[in-house]
Amino acid sequence: MTDLPTRSVDLKAVLSGSSPTVAKDDHSEGMSYLQSVPRRMVTLYLPLAIIVIVLLFPFYWMALTSVKPDEQLLDLDRYNPFWTWNPTFKHFHKLLFESYYPYWLWNTMYVAVCATVLSIIASVLAAYAIVRLRYKGANLVGGLIFLAYLVPPSILFIPLATVVFQYGLFDSPLALILTYPTILIPFSTWLLMGYFKTIPFELEECALIDGASRWQILVKIVLPLAIPGLISAFIFCFTLCWNEFIYALTFLQSTSNKTVPVAIVNEFVDGDIYRWGSLMAGALAGSLPLVILYAFFVEHYVSAMTGAVKE
């Protein structure tokens, strides 16, 4: 088994769709010519279409609901529920001007950016030390950090709530900024360790001989070379922060301090039968920033996802 030819994961190729070098070398299309078009229809395009439609339908439904007028939302018999001819921005207007939504968006953004920056700084230092300084016990520490990755927030939130309360951080964004790094640091440290390993150490040797300190090497040589890794870690951490729910639900209390996911679940769910429009508008507006970010950095996302698993 060991000498089967395996290639390292080509992350760009995963998303760019160009299949990796070997297949393209001879300008062939692999073995797909063995299959006829009708056969490919049934075995490939049909199941793929079904899966993609199921995966994307909730977003279509979310978007459609958020622009439907109220009377069409609940009257499924007189109007075709799958489309609307008179979209309205009433729900978004209500969201932006009659609720705390802008505050919630700002809180989420603020917490996510601060926590991400803190964790990236801490992870860069830790990953560099583990991979390149290789102090005594570095491997053990690396393993412990990996274990920390496996500790889920849902067994930590109760004791953390008491800790947050003791430190007087309850109901302040600082509580989240300080606790989110526990989720982010293990992940980004492992991701960055992988990137740092790919940087040739000869570069560092040269710098050492020229009299550079470790700090100078890190800032002037390693970091510029690891920028793709840093971007991956940054946007992935940002997404995780935006997505985080249980800490935000437990540590924040006042309406104006909440983050988008918590606020939507708690503040919009009232007895109003017409709430669906604004609820879906809120969900859509809360997802869009991430989807836009994702659209620009697709391959970085994938390398972050697979990178952390690969290591």
């Binding site: 529920p81 801490a122 496996l150 067994i155 004791p159 050492l208």
Partner: protein, 317 residues
């Protein structure tokens, strides 16, 4: 390659003052570099982890310091049928959702690995459910599974398959099916894209050789794809099981544990007991009860990783 040590810049430094040693000694430098990360992990992860276990042996409530009550919380839970129901729900949820996530994810990865037009766009679209915050997509599911205005009920009624709306989140069996479906929906992209990355490392020439030897598509999969993918499958599934087992937000946004506790997982039950009812000690006992399961998952991951190294012929990296 990382095994080659970087030579110490100035060996004579070791005789210098204590301050220079602190600046140049590799172990001390390593220590300084580790301080920020370790501070976070110790204060907000290791300490709370220990504190949680301690809390589970006390009768702490919100606003009142607890006293040591030994295993009273656990004994109480042992006789609590709702707790056992939540354990059952969690295991059911984890098992079914993970198995289906794996099956559909692997299938989707195999499909996406084929040559076809708009491949890049398709792959990017598949990952969207993973990017969008879970709670927000759970809300969309909540609306899709609404008891009166569900689009699924509407479609089935108009197709003539059912006579009246299905009470998706009000019926115990349906509620379980719905939350499991939503979990699978969210988890499949992750499994599919990571397995796809693994699939791309398999050289096409292996399939060509096997096909020349008369292997069928199933044999291609069984004897080439599957063995080469096992290591990455082990890791992906460990993560998947771990995060499904400790899931909280999906349930909380869709059902809050209802109807009649049918979808209460251990995580949601511990939130309800600890934060809403204020019984911190009892809630901590429920979440501590998850630890043995998590350890089992970690062991699986560990052996998965070991096996991977062995397969790749690496000794130490």
């Amino acid at each position: 390659m990382a095994d080659v040590a970087i030579p110490r810049a100035k060996p004579q430094m070791s005789e210098d003052s204590a301050w220079t040693q602190l600046k140049h000694n590799r172990n001390w430098l390593g220590f300084w570099f580790m301080v920020p990360a370790m501070a976070f992990l110790i204060f907000f992860l290791a300490y709370p982890l220990g504190l949680g276990i301690w809390l589970s042996f006390t009768d702490t409530r919100i606003g009142r310091v607890g006293h040591f009550v030994a295993t009273e919380n656990y004994e109480w839970l042992w006789d609590d049928s709702i707790f056992w129901l939540s354990v059952f729900n969690t295991l059911l949820y984890t098992f079914i959702a993970s198995a289906l996530k794996f099956a559909i994810g692997l299938y989707l990865a195999l499909l996406l690995n084929e040559n076809m037009p708009f491949k890049a766009m398709l792959r990017a679209m598949v990952l969207i459910p993973f990017i969008v915050p879970t709670v927000l997509s759970a809300l969309a599911f909540w609306w899709i599974f609404d008891s009166q205005f569900s689009i699924i009920s509407w479609s089935l009624r108009h197709l003539g398959l059912i006579d009246q709306n299905i009470n998706f989140l009000g019926d115990t069996t349906w509620a379980r099916i719905c939350v499991i479906f939503a979990n699978i929906w969210r988890g499949v992209p992750f499994v599919a894209i990571t397995l796809l990355a693994g699939l791309q490392t398999v050289s096409p020439s292996l399939y060509e050789a096997a096909t020349l030897d008369g292997a069928t598509r199933w044999q291609n999969f069984r004897f080439i794809t599957y063995p080469l993918l096992t290591p990455i499958i082990a890791v992906v599934m460990t993560f998947s099981v771990l995060f499904t087992f400790t899931d909280f937000q999906l349930i909380w946004a869709m059902t809050r544990g209802g109807p009649v506790n049918a979808t209460h997982l251990m995580a949601t039950l511990s939130y309800q007991r600890a934060i809403i009812a204020g019984q911190l000690g009892e809630g901590a006992a429920i979440s501590s009860a998850m630890i043995p399961f998590l350890l089992a998952a970690i062991m699986v991951s560990w052996f998965g990783l070991q096996r991977r190294k062995w397969q790749q012929g690496e000794n130490n990296d």
